[in-house]
Every structure is written in C-alpha cells, then in structure tokens.
C-alpha cells in the first residue's frame, strides 16, 4: 500500500539532502508503478496526484500517462478532474497517448454537467493536436452557442487552440466568433477578444477583413466599461475589469494598425481612456499603458499621440519603478516615430540614469542613445559621460562603444570631438574596447595639425594627471606623444584654452613616470618603448642629453623579462643607431579607416585561399603515397615533380633512422626556399617519423623527395649529396622486412645516377674505407658517427665485381672487448654481379668504449658461394679513420 499524498509531501519536505529526496521519490515511484501494474483502481487518482507532485519536482513521470486516461473515463468528478489535470501537466502534445484521449474528450463534451464539459474544453484548449482539433472543432463550435457562459468562455479558448493548430479552418468560424462580441459576460468577452487577436495573429488579412467591422461594437463595449461605474463583480481597485479593457485595447490596436478608417472610429474612445483613467493604482496604469501602445500604433491623430507621449512622460515621474520601466520601454519603441515629442521628456529620461534600479538605468541608457541627434548631442553626451563616471561594473565597454558611435555620427565640430574622446578615455580608459582606442588614434592622426597639437597637449596633460589606471587613455596618449611629440615643444593657444610648451626632457620624464607606475600594464610599456624610439627622431634637435636618455631608456628594456619588450628594445636600439631609423621612425601615414576595413576583408580572403591550398596539398601527397602502396603521407615538398619521380621509381625506397636526419635537413631547405606552407612541412616531418617507426616500407616519396630537392637546387649533388647514403641504408631495411632487394638496389642506383653517381664520395660525418677486397668481392665500410659517445654506424657495402652472382653470403664480425657491436641482417644474401644499385648492404652498430684511445678494429669472416664453389675468408679491418 502506498502512502498518502500528504505523507509523501511531508517526507519529501523532511529530506535534508537532495540524494535523500531522490531515494524517497524513487521508492514512491516504484510503489506507484506496482500499483499501476496491479490495476489498483482505488488509489489511482491519489497516485496520479502524487505523480503531479513528483513532476513538479522534476522527476520522470511518464509511466503515469495511461493512468490519467483511465481516470478521465471515470464517472466521478474528482477522479475525472485529477485525470484531466494529469493529462494537461504530464503530457506533451507530442505524446501518442493523447490520441487515446480523444474519445473520452468527445464523451465529456457531450456531458450534461457544464463543469465536466468545461474540463474537456480546457483540456482541448491546452493540449489539442491538429488531428484532435479537426475531430473536435464541431463540438467546440456547438459549445460556443451554449447557454452557459462558463462553457462559452472555455469554448472560445478551445477554439483558439484549434484554429492555431489548423489555420485553414479560420474561415469557417469567423462568423461564429463575431457573434461572441454580443455576449454580456465578461469571461466570454475577454476570451473572445483574445481569440480574435489570435486569429489576426495567425492570419492577419482574413482576421482584419472579418473583424474590422466590429470596431464600433468594441468601442461601445469599452465605453460601457468606462462609464459603468462601480460593479462589484469585476471591480479591481475602482476600475471595472481592467483585464477586459486591456484586451479590448489590444484588439483595437491590431484592427486599427494601418487602417485609417478603423483608427478614426477609435480616436474618441482612446482619448477618453487616456484622460479618464484613474492612475492611482496599478490596474489603471496597466490600461493607460495599453492605451498608449494602441494610440502609438494605430493611425491616430497627432494630438492624441502627443497626449500618449505625455502620459509616458508622466509615467517617468512616477515613483513606481515598474511604471517607469514600461514607460522607458515604450518610449524606446516610439522614439523613432515621434522623436520631437519624446525629446521634450529628455530631462526626465536623463534623470532615470540616476535611478538605483539597474533595469531602469539600462532602459534609460538605451533610450538616450536613440534620442541623440545633432542638436542635443553635446548635452546628452555630457550626461552619458557623467553616467560613465558613476556606472559600476555595468557594461561600461558597451557604453563607451555606443558613445563613440554617437560622437562619430553627430559631432558638431572637430574640437568637441577630440575633447569628448579624450574625456571618454580619461573616464573609462580601462574599460573601453580597443576599437575605441583605435578610433581615437585614427581620428587624431587624420585631423589638422592645429588639432593634433591640441589633442597631444591635452593628452599629455591627461596622462600626467592620471593615476595610471586608465590604460586606454595612457595608450592613446603615449602613442600620440610618440607621433606628434615635437608639437609639445610649442605653446598652444586657442580661444580660452592654452597650453604651455614643454621641454623635451620633461616630456620624456612624464613618460617614464607613467611606465614606472605600479599599475602600468605591459601594453602601455610596449607603446612607451616605441614612443621612446620615435622620440629620438621627434626631439632629436633639442639636444644630445635627451637623445642619450632616450637611447638609455630603450636599451634598458633589452634586458626586460618581457620577451616582446626585449626583442623590440634590441631592434629599436639598432634602428636608432643605424640610418634606417630615420625612415622607420618617421611619422606614420594617416590611417584611412575605410581602406583598413577593405584591407582586412581582402586579407581574410587570401587567408582563405591559402587555407584551401594548404588543405589540398597534403591530400595530394597522401594520394600518391597510396598509389605506390606505401600508405603513408608521401613527401609533399617537391610538388608535381616529386610525383613524377615517384612514378619512375615505382616505390620501394625507405628511410632509415640516419636518413631521417638528412630528411629533416632537406625539409628545412625546402621550407626556406618555398616560404609558405611551413605548417605542412612540419606535418611531413611528423609523417616521416611515424613512417620510420611504424611501417618498414616507408614512403618512396620521401626518398625521392630528397633527390628531387637536390635536383631542384641543381648540381648541389656533389657537395651535399645526402640522398645516397640514406637510400643505400634504406635498401638494407627493406630487405630486413620485405623481399624487395632488387627494387631497393635498383632504386639506389637510379638515384645515384640521377645525381651524378657520387658513391663513395666522402660526406661530412661519413667516412668510407675499403675493408676487404679479394677476388670479385669488395666490402667497403661507410662509417658514420652517431650522437652517443663512441657510437658509430658502419654500413658494409658488398660489391660483386666478378661475372657470377654470389649467393649464400655469410658475413661475420668479431670485435675486441672494448667495443660493443650489433649487426643487423644484410639486405640480401645474394650479391649480384655488376655495380651501381646491386650492392648488398649490412648495417653494424658499434659502440667504442675507449673512443679516443683506441680505434675500432674488426675481424671479418666472409663466406659465400660463387660459381657453385664455397669460399671462406678472414680479414682484419683496422683502417678505420680517426675518431672512431
């Protein structure tokens, strides 16, 4: 047996923690589910009521949906009531269960008890789907003519839902809806006016066409309400049914919008409402507010509009914040229509900026920005700046940006504009966005010399007066001093304003003071550094002392902790000393904001193109790689040429560890020569790495890439020639893992041929010795030092100079104790006859523990079969070069 609803609520209330609450609810949910399964009729409505409670708390209740259906089919009113409530709260209109309810709804619509009919109508009004609406609209329509106002009002809103879901039915019901206006019950009137508003909203044309002729009756209704005097039934603080009045006014608004004739018909009543409504209470103000909205939206007389705006002006003086809020909101809406009338209340609106309520202040601010025009810009900007001083943590940046826009659009003269910008920066330099700073700088630099001098003097003064917090101001000031510093040396006077000339030293000193302030940010310091550099040009003629000081100041930063400062300081030091400085530090050309904007746009475009190119190239490389059955990202470095080479070679080359280093060098070369697409190169490197460590048959493209690169640099083969070794080594690795000796060998041959066959030519870090040469077999050692101490990599290259292939090659090496050695398998056990590309290689990794004292020494044991004869031989290789 489950507990009572009250007990559930009580136990939930007594829960201390959320998890406790969850456990209570889940226990109860389980109980309810059990009860549902057991078809427990007796407690069904109680369980649904509990589900409502759980639903409100945010727990899942979907399992109770069918129970609601069972309840609405119950003959008992309370059960039905709960069932319908559950239906309305627990279900969404998407739930399929709703279709099952249609039948019950139909039954209940035909019930003799008006409350049960009302319940069904209410449910239709809240939940009806398009299908249900079609099914049930005839019954709903029938109830619109019902004798009971209780049913009529509910039917009106149920109809509203039906028409909302099936707008095509509107036509069929407009006449019926019009009939509702004759009703005498307020409930029916308020619902039917809302219904009409909805119809107009859904289908403005049809709605207006149908209902416009109702204007006189609506006006009469409103007049009756006004003149009715006290009616206890619908009285709200002395006003008869404000809700109905508001609703009627709204309908009139929708009907009168853009309709001269209809608007004409409502002029009188609107004036009457506007003048006669009692404003002591909120209800009256609500009506007035609606009335003002209506007056402003319909085609009303000018006098009426002024009256409406005056009402709003009166609202602004009201002590109730809510009323001031709606007034500001509405003024914001109507300001574009009737600016002059709103302007009259400017002072009141500005006063709202001092309101303690931030909502009011924000609205007032929005409104003021809309009110600004060229005639009041000075007064209003002053107010805005005043507000900026007191505004706390509100969107100051936003206000700055908006003020900037105001200044840009309506500035009466240049001087005022400079003044305002500087004041703006002085007040909230630390909050405004960079765009404000940029705009100020651009404006000052594009103004006349006279104005520049004025602005620079003013900024210099503001900077000296500032306590180091207004970052934006400091940046602009520092920049301007750097740019127009020499102007400070002259006195400046204009009308009542005059500035004393400054001497060069004091200009520099004041800058130093700024940078030394505790709160001085890096951004300011960076600008100051640039300014010091620039001032060496601007103030150069004033004497060496200043120059020396400036140089010292720049130099000082070359040991700065800030990398940017340090770099710039070094650069500037050089610039100042060198001749290039004169040009580089000369005055900046005037920035044309429009041009800049355009440039930004084109830059974006070209970036896009680059991006695409960047994206496509690697794909290309990858594609080719796949073709050659390497799967890896082939070398994209060489572009088209490279791809051709790939085809020629047919793949098969590898990259060894040693090769990688070379490869990297190559990549760098390519990077330098090719400029862009560096990122891509990096990726390539990574690809290479992964190839080296993952798939043994590494991309042919990489190897070929090397040759290609070499080719590209024409004839550098002899000098650099890294590709040879990697490829030979490469062949080795291929053999280790894959049976491709021929191909590998061939590959090497071709490659070396391509670059001019410089096999055996010593390369930096690589020494070649001949370790063994007897009969047809020559073994040469290519030695390369490895990073570790005493470590070396020796590649034994077997060449068959005879006429017969050597098979069954067996090569063994013995070393003294101080040497550690590891031999990798040979690339093949068959040494084919002939030179280039047919050698067999075998890699030996050696670590000489006594490097520097003793050289590497090796005893070699060679065995092979040639011409069916087994040959065994021993030899000593002690001719390793110095340092191994």
């Amino acid at each position: 047996m489950s507990i009572k609803l009250r007990d559930l609520i009580r136990s939930v209330r007594s829960c201390k923690t959320a998890s406790e609450e969850r456990s209570v609810i889940s226990r109860e949910s389980a109980m309810i589910r059990t009860a549902i399964r057991e078809e427990n009729d007796q407690f069904r409505h109680r369980n649904v009521a509990k589900l409502l409670f759980m639903h409100m708390l945010g727990y899942p209740t979907h399992f109770g949906q069918l129970e609601c259906l069972k309840l609405i089919a119950s003959p008992h009113f309370p059960e039905k009531r709960i069932g319908y409530l559950g239906l309305m709260l627990l279900l969404s209109e998407e739930a399929d269960v709703l279709m099952l309810a249609t039948n019950s709804l139909k039954n209940d619509l035909g019930h003799s008890n008006q409350y049960i009919v009302g319940l069904a109508l209410c449910t239709i009004g809240n939940l009806s789907t398009p299908d249900m609406s079609r099914d049930l609209c005839t019954s709903v329509d029938k109830h619109l003519r019902s004798g009971s106002p209780y049913i009529r009002k509910k039917a009106a809103l149920a109809m509203c839902r039906c028409l909302e879901k099936c707008p095509d039915m509107i036509e069929d019901f407009t006449e019926r809806i019009i009939g509702l206006v004759k009703d005498r019950t307020h409930g029916v009137l308020i619902t039917s006016t809302q219904l009409m508003c909805k119809v107009i909203e859904i289908d403005p044309q049809a709605g207006r066409a149908a209902f416009t002729r109702l204007v006189p009756s609506l006006v009469r209704l409103l007049r009756n309400l006004l003149s009715m005097g006290y009616s206890p039934e619908h009285d709200v603080s002395g006003i008869s049914d404000p809700f109905l009045q508001v609703s009627l006014l709204r309908l009139l608004r929708l009907l009168g919008k853009g309709n001269e004739e209809a608007s004409e018909g409502m002029n009188d009543i609107l004036a009457q409402v506007a003048t006669n409504t009692e404003t002591a209470k909120n209800a009256g103000n609500a009506i007035l507010y609606e009335c003002v909205n209506t007056i402003m939206e319909v085609e009303s007389e000018d006098g009426l509009r002024v009256l409406a705006i005056n009402i709003l002006g009166r609202f602004l003086l009201n002590r109730d914040n809510n009323i001031r809020y709606v007034a500001l909101n509405t003024l914001g809406k109507v300001v574009l229509q009737d600016s002059a009338a709103v302007q009259r209340h400017r002072a009141t609106i500005v006063d709202c900026l001092k309101d303690p309520d931030i909502s009011i202040r924000t609205r007032a601010l929005d409104l003021i920005f809309k009110l600004v025009n060229s005639s009041n810009v000075e007064a209003l900007t002053a107010e805005l700046l005043n507000y900026l001083v007191v505004a706390q943590g509100e969107n100051k940046a936003d206000i700055c940006t908006k003020t900037l826009k105001v200044v840009e659009n309506f500035s009466p003269n240049d001087r005022w504009r400079v003044d305002t910008l500087i004041t703006l920066l002085t007040i909230s330099g630390k909050d405004c966005k960079d765009s404000v700073l940029a705009a100020s700088i651009v404006y000052i630099s594009s103004s006349s010399d006279d104005l520049k001098a004025y602005a620079t003097h003013k900024l210099a003064k503001a900077m000296r007066d500032d306590d180091g917090t207004q970052e934006g101001l400091l940046i602009v000031a520092v920049w301007c001093i750097g740019e127009f510093g020499e102007m400070l040396l002259q006195p400046y006077a204009h009308e009542s304003v005059s500035f004393q000339p400054l001497d060069a030293m004091s200009i520099v000193d004041s800058l130093v003071v700024v940078t030394k302030m505790v709160r001085c940010t890096q951004a300011v310091k960076r600008r100051a550094l640039t300014t010091f550099a620039k001032l060496t040009q601007r103030l150069g003629h004033t004497g060496d002392a200043v120059i020396t000081k400036l140089k010292m100041l720049v130099k000082k930063h070359s040991t700065s902790m800030d990398l940017e400062l340090q770099v710039r300081a070094c650069e500037f030091s050089n610039l100042i000393e060198g001749k290039a400085g004169q040009g580089a530090l000369a005055r900046m050309p005037v920035v044309d904001p429009k041009l800049r904007q355009r440039k930004n746009l084109t830059r974006k475009d070209s970036l896009d193109i680059e991006g695409i190119a960047r994206a496509s190239t690697p794909q290309q490389g990858g594609g080719v790689g796949g073709e050659i059955d390497n799967g890896g990202g082939g070398g994209g470095g060489g572009g088209g040429d490279l791809l051709d080479l790939d085809d020629i070679f047919g793949g098969g080359g590898t990259v060894s560890g040693g090769g990688y280093q070379v490869q990297q060098q190559q990549a760098t070369v390519v990077q330098q020569t090719q400029g862009g697409g560096q990122e891509q190169k990096k990726n390539e490197d990574i690809d290479l790495l992964s190839d080296i460590f993952a798939a043994p048959p590494a991309p042919a493209g990489t190897n070929n890439g090397q040759t290609n690169v070499l080719d590209m640099f024409g004839g550098s083969g002899g000098a650099v020639q890294p590709p040879v070794v990697p490829t030979t080594q490469g062949g080795n690795i291929v053999d280790m893992f894959a049976p491709q000796p021929t191909q590998g060998a061939l590959n090497t041959g071709v490659v070396s041929d391509l670059i001019g066959g410089q096999n055996g030519v010593g390369e930096s870090g690589k020494d070649v010795i001949t370790a063994y040469s007897k009969d047809a077999l020559t073994i040469s050692f290519e030695c390369r030092k490895m990073p570790g101490k005493g470590e070396a990599e020796v590649t034994a290259v077997f060449r068959n100079g005879g006429g017969n292939d050597m098979t069954g090659l067996n090569f063994q090496v013995a070393v003294p104790k101080y040497i550690q050695m590891e031999m990798l398998p040979p690339s093949s056990t068959t040494v084919k006859t002939g030179g280039g590309g047919k050698e067999v290689t075998q890699k030996i990794k050696v670590r000489n523990g006594m490097v520097g004292q003793k050289k590497i020494m090796m005893k070699l044991k060679i065995g092979y079969v040639v011409g069916g004869k087994r040959i065994e031989d021993m030899a000593t290789a002690n001719n390793f070069p110095q340092g191994y």
């Binding site: 209410c122 409930g187 001031r324």
Partner: protein, 151 residues
Amino acid sequence: MIQFILMVNKQGQTRLSSYYSWLSMSERVALESEIIRKCLSRSELQCSFLEFRGYRITYRRYASLFFIVGTDGEEENELGMLEFIHTLVETLDKYFESVCELDIMFNLEKAHFILDEMVMNGMIVETNKGNILRPMALLARESGKDESIFK
C-alpha cells in the same frame, strides 16, 4: 501569451509550475532555478520585470513565495500581468483563507484547479473570483461524497 506560471519559494524550491508550451524536464528545471536566482538577486526597490532567454518575466513576491509569470513577445502588458498575479493571489487567498506556501504545497491539485479556471493555453479565461471558485465548490461537494481522496 503566458508561457509559464511558477510559484517558487525563497529557497528556490518550486511549489507550483504550469507550462503552456512544451519544455523538456531538464529545460524546466534549469529555467526555474535560473529564474529564481535572478529574482532573488533583485531588491525590493527594483522593478518586477526581467528579460530572460527571450521570455519577459513578471514576478511578484508575496511573503516567502515568488509568483513568476513568463510571457513571450512584445505585445504583453507587463502591468496587466502584474495585476493578474495579484488577482491570482487574491483568489488563492479567498479559497484557502489567507493562503500560505504550505497551503499551495499540500493542495497542489487544488491550486492547479484554480489556475486552470483562470488561465488556459496561456490566455486569461476568468478574473472574477466568484466565477473561478464556483467549480471548486462542486469539487468539494463531490469529494465530500467519498471521503479522504486526497487526504
């Protein structure tokens, strides 16, 4: 149109919620907690209107309970909504005889019944207290017949 009506106490616990357009459960829970946080952060001096996630919220505080109405669009009359909240409270007060948070909590379904008589699909049906409470009387009569359904 009214999108939702909430009654939330000072601790942020929802005591009644009624939505007139579909929102998923998680959205509802999030919405309710955010709105009440916003309402609580406002002082008595501030106006009763908020704009939040495209809703225009009108709220009013009665003792420890916030009555919150969320509407959509520009058309809604905020002052009218405030008046409506007051009518709702007066109606509840008349029914429960000086209503308090616990009345609504323990008689959740009755509060909903009353609300259903006043608002339907986000529109005002009736504002006359007598008319609103008449069906409640019937319910009481019917409930009286077979005792202790909700108790």
